[in-house]
Amino acid sequence: MKFAVVVFPGSNSDHDAYYAARHVLGQEAAFVWHKDTSLQGADAVILPGGFAHGDYLRTGAIARFSPIMREVKRFADAGGPVLGICNGFQVLLEAGLLAGAMLRNRSVKFQCEHVVVKAEQTDTPFTSACRPEQLLRIPIAHGEGNYYAAPDVVERLEKNRQVVFRYATAAGAATPEANPNGSVNNIAGLCNERRNVVGLMPHPERACELAIGSADGLVVLESAVKSVGQGAFAVAR
């Protein structure tokens, strides 16, 4: 399958995502510049981490108006798999492709550490290869990952099983101690109602080889390969 990795000015995890897709998983991958207007026939789109447009104004606020985002929205609306990682998640929130917004971390610090997240849903294109409730030890690296949505929106997300990843202890409990940034309900990642658009703050693409400390994140991109291979979340072209 083919992954498209969108590159904004200030993206810094684009090469990590490309490397994981191309060299660890052996799939096709292509960089797509934010001013491009074609996703090059990709089967799945990754909005990578970084600091698009320097995070000026708000994280993701300028990036959402990049020309490629019109194409990403069209792809998402057609049911194609879209993954937003860290800054990419923030872009999806600003673009309205996912619900809610990000606040400054409760600690008011940029936090860079490995955390444990629980994959709570396995019916998304980025968790289809996960075992139910699988725990992933993957890194976070963000200053604004304190997920917020109005109480009625959070209630709807929970009811629709749209919370895909939750910060948890090593035993899998979503406790306040396991919450690194103050996110409401320990939310680390979520999906849209149609379940084809997924965003998460931790970096699975930076945990794809044991040599760098953890390979737990690989299952996220493996899931896309599995789902696309099964013809799920295919976009009519």
Partner: protein, 87 residues
């Protein structure tokens, strides 16, 4: 024409930066400061024929870009400094 746009977090949204600033002020002895809410301030120099037009344009800019309606609200003032648009 000049429009001023004040963007602040909604009252229901926790403001970690404001809280940290309040704590710093307390450390400095300003115990009378009960709370701090941090926001953003924009000055827009607008080519408009009337104050109404400038106000409409500034509000549109705030709706589309300057504020995120999920967490923020904004207020627009034009020239005279009278609060005219509050959303």
């Amino acid at each position: 024409m000049r429009a001023r746009v004040f963007v602040t977090l909604k009252p229901s949204v926790f403001d970690p930066q404001g809280t940290t600033v309040a704590e710093a002020l307390h450390t400095l002895g300003y115990v009378a400061v009960k709370d701090v809410r941090q926001g953003k301030y924009f000055e827009l120099d607008i080519d408009a024929r009337s104050a109404d037009e400038a106000r409409r344009l500034a509000s549109e800019a705030a709706d589309k870009l300057l504020a995120n309606p999920v967490i923020e609200s904004y207020r627009v003032e034009v020239d005279a400094g009278v609060a005219e648009v509050v959303r």
